[in-house]
């Protein structure tokens, strides 16, 4: 049921022409797809970089055909130099964290579905929205330029610690213009992100349809909303950090560089700066950033699980409050990246307690997901497989955090492969599973066609088993003190463990190849997939009440009225075991 309202001004006119429809579009759906496409290109690039890294680690002298085309200096004759390994490592991390994990689960799906799920015609500020995508794209171009400049990409890691990142070319290869491009790219990315978050927040607060109270929003909408609040604060701090870095590099200031440094036999003309300042500013952003990466996937997974289980979660309110507490606590823990950094050891204890406390809402979420499965009627499809797999991965990645949260243990495990295993499990796998689940779930709505189920399931099994094979051993290697960011292992104690690295490399190559199935499925189904009905999953939220794909103004000029929360599953509805949010039919009162 819907009604027209004279008060709701049309946000923008119907798009005309190819450029307005597909390039500089004001339509949140097109913008969402653009973010997804950018994330897809970035993840393929990032994955390719990780293959190069893993191959180099176990076969350091291998001639990789074609690599010299990527960089004559970095890979003469196809053999990777140590510094180029670090360049690839830096670009891998930067692309994956910023352009994949912030873009795909949050900007891509959020842009596409948040307005629809709350019953709005578009985001609150369509022009800002368009600007935020193209600004993100500009940031991506600036970053990728680092590959083509003669000196190559920076070698300081995605964390770009000062003074290595701040003193300029004396720090080593890639640290001249490569590092500057990094700083400029990320600063541009911050601005894009702030614009995007602004849109999400204003839209969620003010453009909800009649009857759509906050508590009736789907859980993924909640996740996007909470994420945009976190993101606003986080990127507002990273931007100053990058500005100060750029000034140190090019304007001769000394925010991060102390006196008396001698690099490349040159006394550096700076004084008084604090390397720890960079770390504090960076991680004040950096820790919330990882929750920006995981929260949307938690929301997407919750949304899909409810649908696949055909019953609501045990308590949506608890899930919402848990996500909020994670968001809130995420601002108190940044120092756990800096336990051995030289900051006051007392503050290590201060940071450790909130870090350990985050275990509680994270556990609550996991227990709610698990507990809700009890007594359910779980439907298996590609989307639900990834959603269920997410639970497994989130636990696997989460428990290793338990070790790292304790400063005593971190003395031993800091900067080892244990850390790398931890964050890959939670971010690189679990968060990505949310993206995969969302893709399989929402592809019919976005394109009007179904993805191939057989290929989807095959993709799931290769990825699920493959990522366990790749990343579990990282933790074991960490336990024996395998240091990270090494381009090869020359330490005596590493010799017995090189075979483990070979295993991980082969697993990575196979799992990576398996992603081609997903890519093929995406592209093939886009053109040749089975036509999708309006509501192929018998789902309740508003996106399933409109055509697949939706018209330019989502609800065809009408404004939906919402009567229920999106958790009406397992009830006697007129269409089956569910009642849609905009259906005025009565449902027996259920406490939720």
């Amino acid at each position: 049921m819907s009604e027209t309202s004279a008060q709701q001004a049309h946000v923008h006119a119907p798009p005309e022409g190819f450029i307005r429809k597909h390039v500089f579009s004001l339509d949140h759906k097109v913008i969402g797809k653009q973010y997804y496409a950018l994330a897809l290109v970035s993840v393929v690039t990032g994955m390719f970089l990780s293959w190069l890294m893993r191959i180099h680690l176990v076969w350091p002298n291998a001639k990789i055909p074609g690599l010299e085309l990527l960089s004559k200096v970095g890979a003469p004759g196809g053999v990777m130099t140590p510094e180029y390994y670090l360049s690839l490592l830096t670009m891998h991390g930067t692309l994956m964290v910023f352009f994949v994990l912030t873009n795909a689960p949050f900007a891509a799906f959020g842009n596409y579905f948040l307005p629809i799920q709350i019953g709005a015609e578009d985001m609150a500020f369509p022009r800002f929205n368009m600007m935020s995508f193209w600004t993100t794209f500009a940031a991506w171009v600036v970053l990728m330029l680092a590959f083509v400049i003669p000196d190559g990409p920076p070698i300081a890691g995605w964390t770009e610690y000062a003074p290595l990142s701040a003193i300029g070319k004396d720090a080593g290869p890639g640290m001249a213009w490569g590092a500057s491009l990094w700083g400029i790219s990320i600063a541009i990315f911050c601005i894009a992100s702030l614009l995007g978050s602004l849109n999400f927040i204003a839209t969620t607060l003010d453009l909800r349809a009649k009857g759509m109270t906050l508590m009736r929003m789907p859980l993924c909408t909640w996740a996007w909303f909470i994420t945009s609040c976190i993101s606003l604060l986080a990127f507002a701090v990273l931007l100053p950090a990058c500005i100060l870095l750029i000034l140190d590099r090019h304007a001769g200031t000394s925010f991060y560089i102390p006196a008396g440094l001698v690099a490349s036999d040159r006394l550096q003309p700076h004084s008084g700066g604090s390397p720890l300042l960079w770390q504090h500013l960076f991680w004040f952003f950096g820790h919330p950033e990882v929750y920006i990466a995981i929260l949307p996937s938690m929301g997407i997974v919750s949304h899909i699980l409810i649908n696949s289980m055909r019953k609501p979660l045990l308590s949506a309110k608890v899930v919402i409050y848990s996500m909020m507490s994670i968001g809130f606590l995420s601002y108190m823990v940044w120092g756990h990246h800096m336990f051995v950094s030289g900051m006051n050891p007392m503050s290590a204890l201060a940071f450790s307690f909130p870090t350990l406390t985050i275990t509680i809402p994270a556990t609550i979420l996991t227990l709610i997901w698990l507990g809700s499965l009890y007594g359910a009627n779980i439907q298996i499809n590609s989307a639900s497989l990834f959603a269920l797999g997410f639970i497994s991965m989130f636990v696997a990645g989460g428990v290793s955090g338990f070790f790292l949260a304790q400063p005593s243990i971190d003395i031993y495990l800091h900067a080892t492969y244990f850390v790398v295993g931890h964050f890959h499990m939670v971010m690189g796998v679990a968060s990505l599973f949310g993206v995969f689940a969302g893709t399989y779930f929402w592809f019919p709505k976005m394109t009007g066609r179904m993805m191939n189920e057989g290929l989807g399931k095959l993709h799931f099994w290769i990825t699920f088993i493959g990522t366990y094979c790749i990343f579990m051993p990282f933790h074991y290697l960490g336990l024996i003190g395998n240091v990270r960011r090494y381009q090869s292992f020359v330490d005596d104690y590493m010799t017995p463990y090189l075979g483990v690295h070979k295993f991980m490399t082969i697993a990575a190559l196979i799992t990576g190849a398996g992603q081609l199935i997903f890519l093929f499925n995406l592209i093939y189904s886009r053109f040749k997939g089975q036509p999708a009905p309006e509501n192929p999953w018998n789902a309740t939220s508003l996106e399933w009440s409109i055509p697949s794909p939706p018209p330019w103004n989502n609800f065809g000029g009408k404004h939906p009225i919402v009567y229920h929360d999106p958790f009406q599953y397992g009830v006697k509805g007129s269409k089956g075991d569910f009642v849609m949010q905009d259906s005025p039919e009565q449902v027996p009162a259920s406490g939720n």
């Binding site: 946000v11 702030l194 000394s254 004040f284």
Partner: protein, 209 residues
């Protein structure tokens, strides 16, 4: 304008409980939220710079910067521009469609605001010139680094406000001569924030640099 009571809309089936009776979604309200969210983000960024300043202040090379005296005149200009803006508000009248039109001195006060805003920016530039004549540049010492940085970033944001103002004045002066009320209100909020932010930065520079 958004309604505040339950709309008396007849629906065929199902009652909407009072808890859902709320103002209908409104683009005007969204833009108001937007401006406050934007202000929050800008504030957070300047808080980050403030903490950088506090950390940097602990180093042995921290010195003292004498602020160019024109800054105080600039401050008066900026604060005066907030006053003139509010004065212009009294001369704006509401016309149908949630729009505002200027009657009488409305446009004049707005032009005064614009002029004072531009005067502020020019004055800041003169302040930088003043320092440069003394041989104090961005990288001369940490104090000057923060001074140039903070004042420059503030002026950048003020310039954005001036852009909005120019558009505002332009709309009112043109043939049809009206603009969305929400645009006017939001520009006002942003502009006053620029004044508040400046007073904070001035005090910060005065007491710390």
């Amino acid at each position: 304008m958004a309604s505040t009571t339950a709309p008396a809309v007849a629906t065929q089936a199902g009652t909407i409980s009072p808890s859902v009776a709320r103002p209908i979604a409104s683009a005007a309200r969204a833009s108001r939220s937007g401006i406050w969210v934007g202000i929050f983000a800008i504030t957070m960024s300047f808080m980050a710079f403030t903490s950088a300043l506090i950390v940097r202040q602990a180093s042995t090379d921290w010195t003292h910067l004498v602020l160019p005296s024109i800054l105080y005149a600039n401050t008066l200009a900026l604060l005066a521009s907030s006053v003139t803006f509010e004065l212009s508000r009294r001369h704006m009248e509401l016309v149908p469609g949630g729009r505002l039109q200027s009657e009488g001195a409305g446009v004049t006060w707005l032009m005064a605001t614009l002029a004072l805003g531009i005067a502020f920016c020019i004055g800041q530039y003169i302040a930088w010139q003043d320092l440069r004549e003394q041989g104090i540049y961005l990288a001369t010492n940490p104090n000057s680094s923060f001074f140039y940085l903070l004042t420059f970033l503030h002026v950048l944001h003020v310039t954005a406000g001036i852009g909005a103002f120019s558009y505002l004045v332009g709309r009112l002066v043109l043939k049809n001569g009206s603009l969305r009320r929400s645009f006017f209100e939001n520009t006002a909020i942003y502009w006053h924030f620029m004044g508040v932010l400046w007073v904070y930065l001035l005090l910060l520079c005065r007491t710390k640099l």
